[in-house]
Symmetry: C2
Subunit: 432 residues, 2 copies
């Protein structure tokens, strides 16, 4: 199965939900992202789809007989993610029909809830969270800090480098993030100390959720990887750089990352992303070709996705002064050295089993330009002056009260623009 | 709560289950390890306790009115692990009574099932698996491979080094382990290849399961860590050394470990281990003291456990020739540079949340002696000749058909010896 561009992507398709036809919405009828929401703190989580400024209650639709997919009754997206490709496509087509045709309006309209009135939850119970390091620009920028003459390690162009992350501390957008304590050693100090991190950073990433998994001992080749990826979200892999620098040798980042990772609550499906597929990143001349297990003749399977990403920062002072958040980073998923299909194939190449709902992250997404640094560490490395905010403040790393907002959208001539909603988080002061 | 040595540990306590009084059993009545078992492939998993060669069906006991703990009705040990300390102690005391006093025999005996007749399952759904690197002897041996003059990195004596492992591929003892494929680069080769690993290794570790967890943003100090640790098991963190060497820079081991990690199915509780507590490892003169957040005035909380560990190897030829498995490694949990309490405190020091059922591993447990190398890599580094098996075969790394068996036991004068059962796995040939 390759997700085709079909009538659900037609640019002239309109919804009877008026806000979905607004050119500024992230969620036109061509998108149909999934979410899990609660109407109140004690409400049961339910599965929904975003449409303009509304959420369509999909379990409500099932109970009303509008949809007959039993997976929609769960309190997480797990069963929907596990659906076989044809059932996923059928569900999308049916949602597109319900939300576009007037004939279904009377039955479906009572099942709409304004998105602003609900709590958006984590979309699924995440079994394992894996984070990659797929941006060669990020790897080069960071590597230069440690090895100025030889920033990229010899394995980088062969291995989609990744590591296991912490699943328990993945939180939904909007969850406040407390500045972590940790061990750090100042370069001139004899011994390390234990104190709140002084170099808290964001990392602009894209997350992708596994749909159907594979059994332990089986592999998922690149050409089949698309079928196992349910959809994408925004991911902020908060990082404490001082803790990381002291702890990461020889087994990699640990407490520098495990205090929180934020995901946007909307899962944009691979079906919705079909129009925005692009060829894989063009490797530089002289770069090795990927090893055969990381290649596929199928261009769609092997390709990337044109997804523009942005990071905005809003300090407490800016917020209090009514100043708009300032864009501090941007990037594009297509600039990654490795595609998400290659990451899935590599992850399972040793027989490791992925399970429905597993979250994989791309790693920080940076581009070649100075405006395309996906984290503050890189901005500090590449831009001589500290970041100047419109409030007159400056930033090298995040301060307490800062809010980080990530956004993403897919644009293509002849198609409607679709967006990813937001991934937000405010930095709280360290515990006393 | 510090688990006291009480009447449940009395060396003269005997069970009406005859096999529990055999001096060679791992499971005398002083042990009472928990497990999850199935009578048949399609049977519902049930919680049990090991007693001699039998398993007492604890959900059966609950239904028969012998035990009134609702947590025993679950199909995993999760709810039992989450019990508060007093309920855990009460359950242990009650089990000890039921299995020692003749008055309960008539009611309980029908609820015994020979352990040899059941399938032993993973004890709990593991949310996150974290692996530490707490043996200074192991870290020194392995570090010498890369840095002969300066084997230990500067952070080692300050930071309980750990990394996130893969939870999905943790399997129960007895599960066969398929040799993984992966990228490796021979030292003389220009480029890497993709092939089955040629240097498959075991790692002798102890795993410990989290009982009650902590909320995101909260810490667990060393003095409280004991209450959050439910119990211990044996852990074999299978490793592909050639894959590891090529992939691990800069983010740590990934596919070299994620193809399988085996745990013994019996969880020996912290209560059962109370008599075998010992002071923490004596640091060498001149070593720094642990930072304050890794210390406690409470000797029991800060201390170690005297747990002897052994690894046996049995090749296919040995098995076919009726030759007994050969002991190839041994070690003791008390030789770790960091205690399990310190590992819990460090893990949560940044506010990272641990959840009930999370598995933490110690890392490879090696001692100072050549006979105390916890993995084949270290034996190869420290012993000039390849390992010679009683069949006449030699081993540098594991071959297809090799079975690795780990055992552990606690001995103390004036107390009965308790054991951990076995953690077994046979190496299968790589997939074609």
């Amino acid at each position: 199965v390759r997700w085709p561009v079909d009538q659900t992507h037609a640019p002239d398709l309109r919804s009877w939900v008026e806000s979905a036809n607004d050119s500024t919405t992230d969620f036109p009828i061509q998108n149909l992202p999934f979410c899990v929401f609660k109407s109140g703190e004690n409400d049961r989580p339910r599965v929904g789809t975003g449409i303009g400024a509304q959420i369509l209650d999909l379990d409500g639709c099932r109970r009303a007989g509008l949809l007959d997919e039993p997976a929609l009754s769960a309190d997480s997206l797990g069963p929907v993610m596990a659906l076989p490709p044809d059932a996923r496509s059928a569900l999308r087509l049916r949602l597109s029909e319900i939300l576009s045709r007037e004939v279904w309006r009377a039955a479906a309209e009572p099942l709409l809830i304004p998105a602003a009135q609900v709590m958006l939850c984590l979309p699924v119970d995440i079994g394992d969270y894996t984070d990659f390091y797929a941006s060669i620009f990020h790897a080069t920028n960071v590597g230069r800090l440690f090895r100025p003459d030889n920033p990229l390690l010899p394995n980088y162009k062969y291995v989609p480098i990744g590591y296991h992350g912490r699943a328990s501390s993945v939180v939904a957008s909007g969850t406040h993030v407390r500045r972590p304590w940790g061990q750090r050693k100042d370069p001139n100090a004899e011994t390390p100390g234990f104190a709140p991190s002084r170099s808290l950073d964001y990392e602009l990433e894209v997350g992708f959720f596994i749909g159907r998994g594979n059994r332990l001992g089986e592999v998922i080749p690149v050409r089949e990887a698309q079928e196992h990826i349910f959809g994408l979200c925004l991911l902020n892999d908060w990082s404490a750089r001082d803790i990381q620098a002291w702890e990461y040798q020889p087994l990699g980042p640990f407490l520098a990352k495990s205090f929180a990772s934020s995901v946007s609550p909307w899962v944009v499906t691979m079906e919705a992303l079909a129009p925005y597929r692009v060829p894989a990143f063009q490797r530089a001349e002289g770069d090795p070709s990927p090893l055969p297990y990381l290649t596929s003749d199928d261009e769609n399977a092997a390709g990337g996705i044109d997804l523009t990403l942005e990071v905005y920062l809003c300090s407490k002072l800016m917020h209090e002064s009514g100043i708009e958040p300032m864009r501090v980073s941007r990037g594009n998923l297509r600039s990654l050295y490795w595609t998400i299909g290659q990451m899935v194939a590599h992850h399972t190449s040793n027989g490791c089993n992925l399970r429905t709902g597993d979250l994989l992250g791309t790693g920080t997404i940076s581009g070649p330009d100075r405006t395309e640094c996906g984290c503050l560490l890189e901005i500090a490395l590449r831009v001589p002056e500290p970041l100047r905010l419109p409030s007159g403040e400056t930033r090298t790393f995040l301060e307490d009260g800062d809010e980080v907002v990530m956004r993403g959208c897919c644009r293509k001539n002849g198609f409607v623009t679709i967006g990813f909603g937001e991934c937000r988080g405010v930095v709280l002061p360290a515990a006393v």
